[in-house]
Symmetry: C2
Subunit: 692 residues, 2 copies
């Protein structure tokens, strides 16, 4: 047993230790050097032989139509191509299409306020001499420009776009990302780079969750105490909100604000206790969960307040939809109030659900008066509501389908909760309209799309980028592309490329990990610690909540906060192991790679322990360093058995699986990304039957 | 010859390739585990046996005096200690000093507008039971809190502050950093993190260079066209400027604005051509250099304009000093204008220098009317100026000393130009008052300090952090600490620690390099390319200007922009080589380390060439990859001769030195950091005399 392992240790050390996840993904199909890295995949694409070479003479023109928004979108896309390549192509379009390399033909501006019906389709025809982008609207042209950017490739001969024909249109019209900016505040510049990321993957809606028990984040001039007393000074001015709306529109993204009511409203009541059902005083809630404070639906003053507040907000948010939340009202204060109970009896409202429905009906009238459609979470859905109310389902597909059967349009968010720390493929395989759906075509048409959701109990401004990206790109593809591109391996290959494209927008989802590792370890060089960190990820949301008992003021600066969910190691190691297990034998590239990975794990421990010694926030990780050695040793043993064809002694498997089980337990709020494939390796080892 | 090299290659590969610069600096002296990482060094420090342990019971109190600014400074410092350690110490001070672990005794608030006379001294007495910080002013307390933060150490037993007595007072009163925000615009959030970095190293003045031929960056409500037409939309609103002034004051930092005049003023004239000496139209200058446009000093309307403009600015910038630039007026337009020539004759002004003096005298009266002292660059200094005008010397110590002899106060900036891409030690050894100075004590007292200067021809928002940090910390130490801490080795050891502390403020001087390398190479894993990048740095400023012919619109996204000046490799490799050469022999740690470094260089080439192949912006670096192999080979050869005591053949040295000379030539706008020590190694090799 000892021989092969010792040799393996020697070879493994030839690899830089922190560099073990490069290029394990199989090479994709390509035509004349072109590699498809589009994300999302277009509905129709035909790549042909030949290239459109990008040279300084590359000129762009518009015909039919142009406006400031289109010009800016062209300048951004061409500017990025120019900066990436160093080739000084002009970035402003002109109107003389005759000598243009890229002709952008747009039929018209699109709606003054982008709606769910905006035509986002486009076509791209690329020949060796020129490219022609055609779209009905400016937003469609933006989608096509995004694809064009992603088509640009370079090799030793230079920069080029492959000869291709693309016809592309989104599968769903509502492709959103919700960000909870209330539990932790997210600054404007972070939101802007997030909008750039969204545009890059063709998302078209930013759902801005602006109020919570833990904070009210939007300036009101009519009710200034909302932020003066309810925000800790962390809020968006109206000017900033308008800036975000304009920035989003420039990228073809709608902004739907959410003010959650009647529950999740503690922060409103700090400044305006008369809105509440119970007596004050109220405070900004620091804990997380569902709390009792709830608006008083029985007083006319509540509706007068909301009418004035909404009047102010609709001047900032032009989108036809207005999100009223409506979730998780526990009814406690309504049941406890004799006055509210008596109101319910007078109005024949049999339970708190009926009372919330009464509240929603009143709120709906206010929204209608201000020209807005209502959208809310599952709970708002009651049979009395008119059919233009829309439902966002956090409960799941069944709840969404039930709504659709009853005539309500809806979008799916269950399955797209980024805060759960699930891997990208788990989200990717969730379909708002699964093939197995028994909805009628008419009912299916009511499923408008979906929204990724980022709840912020465990995330703040410093860590949000790695919680959003690149996983959100996988959800974006699910919502844009046809149902068929379901290869998880190919999705992850393209996700790796997209991740670097996202970094170019200033997103810190890659760099922040290394910044944090330096800060945690107090060392500039974090080599061995990176080796450990690369195979760890945050425990799931619920587990962290259970183990940490954090509140809003708990710093987000531990190892768990440094680590991205679903790091490259997870899928890369799984793929490597899977490929190896197809034909386990000595000398294959997969065997060499696995051996070197396991040796890197084993050799990392002493240096990790040295760096942890003086780093107070890393003390909790000591067991993880020791476990990494065990995992590496088990891996080497398994590969040595499998490659040699020798049998392990009876009991070998059980003992190794027990170690893996132990390593799988949460510790330091992080978990290993590699347990399942290791288990597959151990299980594949042939064992001498007991007693022989 | 072949034997030892081959073996060395084998061993070297045991090191992760990008990780070769860790821990080459010798361990410093310490008392009971305490390592002095203070930067700047205090004027008096006595470290004793014992520790004040930081536990959750750590309480802070103020006595005598407290105000909002002091409370905020305490909360920031304690918050950082808390977040670094995870120990939940309270961060707000109370006023009951009896049970306090840290007692902060401040005599008073200090001046309402911090002046050059602000008392910044403090004392710190730390016993095993408590710490006492005493200062005359809040600013002094901030300096002491900064030192306290830097004293905090951790080891396996936990967090502690060593028992110590510190009495500290700055050597110079004017310790500034000038940032040119005009040639390239620097956003507010970048300035804020820069101010945090400045406070960390006890700098006390931000000199804000706000106007240039290439842009006018400060909103004027009286003259809105200054930014409407002169800024490309990139400027600071008055609200933002006030925010910066307040942010700086909260950190004990003065803000002195500079509006450069009468030259460097093209951008003013785009909106207000009547200010100019020649006829318009004018444009924002895109090129860099000295240009002809200059204010018309003969018209009363010029002074009326400046009076109104300065009146507006003094309401924003409360500092008693106002910087008028005054540099690099070439006089061309004055000479070319018959009207101005006739004015000079009428007023008996014999040359353009005399006319500029006339302008300065007029400007001085306006400044005095608004209660400001004038400060300007060397050129303003003429015998007619009153003695309260201050000079900032870019010309050097002689110019500064000449001013001091004539009664003028001054500060040194020559030797502190960060944009030149010089190493930290070069700046560190420049003293505003060298020991060799022949100034009288009275004249010496007129040398108030110095300012690091960051001119922005070749730097922008994305790259400024690594151009400023950590080198600015070395200049800050020169200006604060006594003349005696002159050990370059120890400075670099502490600079490495300070660099990580600076990163905690959000500065991107470390992380941006890796972001850029990923973008340049299009790969997430940049291992071998990092090996090359780690021994490269930007060519000097003048060389780049000469080779690149860049203008304001040239993207700053090439390899030269990714690389920090004076990276850790430079001093670490020099120190390693120096230590090795003291007793070159086989088997020493230095020999092993050198060998592994050289092997890492050699083995990097194939992977670097692979990654460069598809990366258009890296094509220019191919020769550098090839040279790295040559450098590694020369290093291995030299070490093998030196360690074995064998002689090289005649001509060996000359051939190797020629290769080093070739590698020293600029290429891709970058240069190697390791040529000089390599040359030392080669020169040290004994050679068989020719003909033997």
């Amino acid at each position: 047993m000892v021989g092969p392992i010792a040799i393996a240790i020697l070879f493994a050390s030839l690899l830089p230790s922190s560099n073990i996840w490069a290029q394990t993904t199989p090479a994709p199909s390509s035509t004349e050097g072109f590699v498809n890295t589009l994300m999302p995949q277009p509905s129709q694409i035909s790549i042909q032989e030949g290239r459109l070479v990008i040279a300084p003479s590359f000129k762009t023109a518009t015909d039919h139509f142009r406006d400031v928004r289109l010009d800016a979108a062209i300048a951004r896309s061409l500017g990025r191509i120019k900066n990436r390549s160093g080739i000084p192509i002009p970035t402003s379009p002109d109107t003389d299409g005759r000598s243009a390399t890229l002709l952008v033909s747009v039929d018209g501006a699109g709606a003054a306020v982008q709606s769910i019906d905006e035509d986002e389709s486009y076509s791209l025809e690329i020949s060796p001499a020129s490219a022609h982008l055609h779209a009905a609207t400016v937003v469609g042209a933006m989608r096509g420009l995004g694809t064009l950017e992603q088509l640009v490739q370079s090799d030793a001969t230079g920069l080029f776009i492959p000869v291709a024909v693309i016809h592309d249109t989104p599968r769903f019209r509502w492709r959103g990302l919700m960000i909870d900016c209330a539990r932790h505040f997210i600054p404007v510049d972070v939101l802007k780079r997030t909008l750039d990321g969204m545009a890059s993957v063709k998302l078209n809606l930013f759902h801005w969750h602006l109020s919570e028990d833990q904070g009210f984040r939007m300036e009101s001039k009519t009710f200034p105490k909302l932020t003066e007393l309810g925000s800790d000074g962390l809020f968006y001015t109206q000017e900033q909100a308008r800036e975000i709306v304009a920035y989003a529109r420039d990228r073809g993204i709608r902004v739907v604000p959410e003010f959650d009511m009647p529950g999740h409203t503690s922060a409103w009541f700090v400044g305006y206790p008369d809105l509440a059902s119970a007596a004050g005083p109220f405070h900004i809630e620091r804990k997380f969960g569902v709390f009792d404070p709830v608006m008083d639906p029985t007083r006319e003053s509540t509706y007068k307040f909301l009418d004035a507040f909404i009047a102010e907000m609709v001047a900032i948010f032009p989108d036809p939809f207005f999100h009223i939340g409506g979730d998780e009202n526990n009814g406690v204060e309504w049941k406890a109030s004799p006055r509210i109970q008596s109101f319910m009896r007078e109005h024949n409202l049999k339970d708190t659900s009926a009372l919330q429905n009464y509240f929603n009906q009143r709120l709906l009238k206010i929204l209608e008066k201000h020209g807005k459609h209502m959208i809310g979470w599952d709970e708002i859905l009651t049979p009395d509501l008119p059919k233009d109310v829309m439902v966002q389902s956090w409960r799941g597909f069944d709840s969404l389908a039930a709504g659709a059967r009853n005539g309500y349009a809806g979008i799916l968010s269950a399955g797209y909760y980024l805060n759960l720390m699930s891997p990208a493929d788990a989200h990717y395989m969730v379909d708002p309209l699964p093939e197995t759906s028994d909805l009628s075509p008419e009912q299916q048409a009511r499923i408008l799309g979906g929204e990724a959701c980022m709840w912020e109990e465990q995330t703040g401004a410093q860590t949000i980028d790695s919680r959003l990206w690149p996983r959100t790109a996988a959800i974006a593809e699910r919502l844009w592309s046809p149902r068929n591109p379901n290869s998880v391996d190919d999705m992850y290959r393209r996700l790796g490329v997209e991740s670097l494209r996202l970094e170019a927008f200033g997103l810190t989802h890659i760099s922040q990990e290394y910044v944090s590792l330096r800060q945690l370890s107090g060392a500039r060089q974090t080599g061995s610690f990176e080796t450990l960190a690369s195979v760890l990820e945050p425990v799931p949301f619920d587990q962290r909540a259970h183990l940490q008992h954090a509140n809003q003021l708990t710093p987000l600066d531990r190892l768990v906060d440094a680590l991205p969910p679903d790091p490259p190691s997870r899928h890369d190691f799984e793929l490597l192991t899977r490929t190896y297990l197809k034909q386990p034998s000595a000398g294959t590239p997969e065997e060499k790679k696995l051996t070197s990975v396991f040796n890197a794990w084993i050799s990392a421990e002493p240096e990790i322990l040295r760096s942890i010694a003086g780093a107070p926030l890393l003390a909790e990780s000591i067991p993880r360093a020791e476990q990494l050695t065990s995992l590496g040793t088990i891996g080497l043993e398994a590969v040595s058995f499998l490659s040699s064809g020798l049998r392990a002694d009876a009991g070998w498997k059980a003992a190794r699986l027990a170690v893996l089980d132990e390593a799988e337990r949460p510790q330091a709020l992080v978990r290993f990304t590699v347990i399942k494939p290791l288990r597959d390796l151990v299980i594949a080892v042939p064992e001498t039957p007991a007693g022989q």
